[in-house]
Amino acid sequence: MSINATPAGADVAAEAERPTGRHAAVPGQRAGRRPRPPLSENKRAERRLGWLLCAPAALVMVLVTAYPILYSVWLSLQRFDLRFPDEREFVGLDNYVTVLTNQFWWTAFGVTALITVVTVVIELVLGMGLALIMHRTLVGRGIVRTAALIPYGIVTVVAAFSWRYAWTPGTGYLANLLDGSAPLTERASSLAIIMLAEIWKTTPFMALLLMAGLALVPEDLLKAASTDGATGWQRFTKVMLPVMKPAILVALLFRTLDAFRVFDNIFVLTSGANETSSVSMLAYNNLIRGLNLGIGSTMSVLIFLTVAIIAFVFVKLFGTAAPGSDDGERR
């Protein structure tokens, strides 16, 4: 059979090859329905088409992530400074020793961990509140939803500039509330502002994911609880939270990994001054300002490993609640 690469043609081709009767089958019900008979011509054509359609996407994703990350493992084992290209040599794990015994790395790691934990916790609370408002408000639902999407959509750098000028003495409406101090020149207040900017920007995303979970809570269950005399708080903790658990875990996973990558806000707000660098900021500085590919790659690998560990822990703790189970075949 001839295979047309466009979705339109593919659709037609698949349709023509499809035996009648199984057309409406839900994907989830197909797998393992009966012992596999030898593959028919139709079946093989369907497979071929499936692979063909997925190949470009899969290829791009693997080429731009898997290959570079392996390459960065290779680079991380070398002394490789673009300012002194002649001194490039294989040094084994030396770069890792250098980075892991370096106080800047651990300071940045601490800052990143602090920002991640604090922002994700606050976002979860605020996001839940926002989700409840967006879901249950009696008035102006459209306006609230639209307004809440704006921080999500806005360019992070733009928002970061807004916060920076707001806290700049003289210029800013917020800085003037303080008595002439410059909060972005001190470590604690800088970190607080970075977290504020992060929370402002990403709470709506958290809220949207939680709202999707809220929509799954059956209304009559809430009514029944209410009739049985449950208070609002009891309805929330005993009825809503259990139903929403998968949505909460997905939101937490996504936000935790995302928060760990914090970069834009720090770049604009402090450029990492006063020990406010995150690990991403440090990796960037080593690469672009220091042109040290060896050390930069070592940090890349370490960040990758950290994120992988976080993801692994989440998935282990929460099992199949991870996203992707939505294709119906994973459970």
Partner: protein
């Protein structure tokens, strides 16, 4: 009595609504307000401008630096969006309609990539792109954007495609439509909203990126606006870059706000459909 409680409840919800709206809008209004201030009143610390001016906007559109960056931003985001949506549509169609081994693997891989720490790619991509000669070019940015937009596109689109009643296509053919007609008249209109929503989400993602843009570019040739904003500060051609930065920031914020205003419902369903079906 009942009426009274509803009014009270309405007031309470209304108050909460106002808090949310104010919280969401203040930083946006603030940067817009700064962009309309004259250079004399820029540092007066007032929230609203006392004197309004468009000078800042004139300044940025007079400089090549901003105009180039704007062209780069638009071009790169549009091309990356187009490619990601086409590839994503093909893959999502296969995932939602065809049965083939490796499907779960693909879904798993795209999930992994959605969670991938992008900063880990910065060092190796920098070196790879330098060797390939695509460092500081449009393709150099488009490639990573497509990669990280694809998981988003595949999730959103396959969720949409699963909801399409594909039987309609067969019904149309029974009624005498050709396969082409069935696709054009029946399936395409049903699939279009999903594809469109995905395109918006992917565009926002590309438009917002800062990390790749600042590491994989070095000149005006391919610098996008979020990065160019940084360099306004560094150069002396503006007396006081604050106003210009704010004006440029407003210019790149307007399209996003328009998207959000017009497609709020679709954006919400697109963002949540792929992520939560637990």
């Amino acid at each position: 009595m009942a009426v009274e409680t509803t009014t009270r409840a309405k007031l309470r919800w209304g108050l909460l609504d106002v808090i949310v709206v104010v919280f969401a809008l203040v930083p946006v209004l603030w940067i817009a307000s700064l962009s309309f201030k004259t250079s004399a009143t820029l540092t007066d610390g007032k929230f609203w401008p006392r004197e309004w001016t468009l000078d800042n906007y004139r300044t940025i559109f007079d400089t090549d630096q901003f105009v180039r960056a704007l062209i780069n931003s638009i071009g790169i985001a549009l091309i990356a969006t187009a490619i990601a949506v086409v590839l994503g549509t093909m893959a999502a169609y296969a995932i939602s309609r065809l049965d083939f081994p490796g499907k779960k693997l693909l879904v798993g891989v795209s999930l992994l990539i959605a969670m991938f720490p992008q900063v880990s790619l910065v060092s190796p991509l920098f070196e790879i792109e330098r060797q390939l000669g695509i460092f500081d070019t449009w393709p150099g940015l488009i490639l990573p954007y497509i990669t990280f937009a694809l998981p988003l596109a595949i999730y959103t689109l396959s969720a949409f495609f699963k909801q399409i009643p594909w039987d309609l296509e067969k019904a149309a053919k029974m009624d005498g439509a050709t396969q082409g007609q069935a696709f054009r008249r029946v399936i395409a209109p049903l699939a279009a909203p999903g594809v469109f929503t995905t395109a918006i989400l992917v565009f926002i993602f590309c438009w917002n990126d800062f990390l790749f843009a600042i590491t994989l570019t070095s000149t005006e040739r391919s610098r996008t606006v979020p990065v160019a904003l940084q360099f306004f500060t560094g150069e002396s051609q503006f007396e006081d870059p604050t106003g210009a930065i704010c004006a440029a920031a407003v210019v790149i914020t307007v399209p996003i706000i328009l998207f959000v205003l017009f497609f709020q419902r679709r954006i919400v369903s697109g963002l949540t459909s792929g992520a939560v079906k637990g």
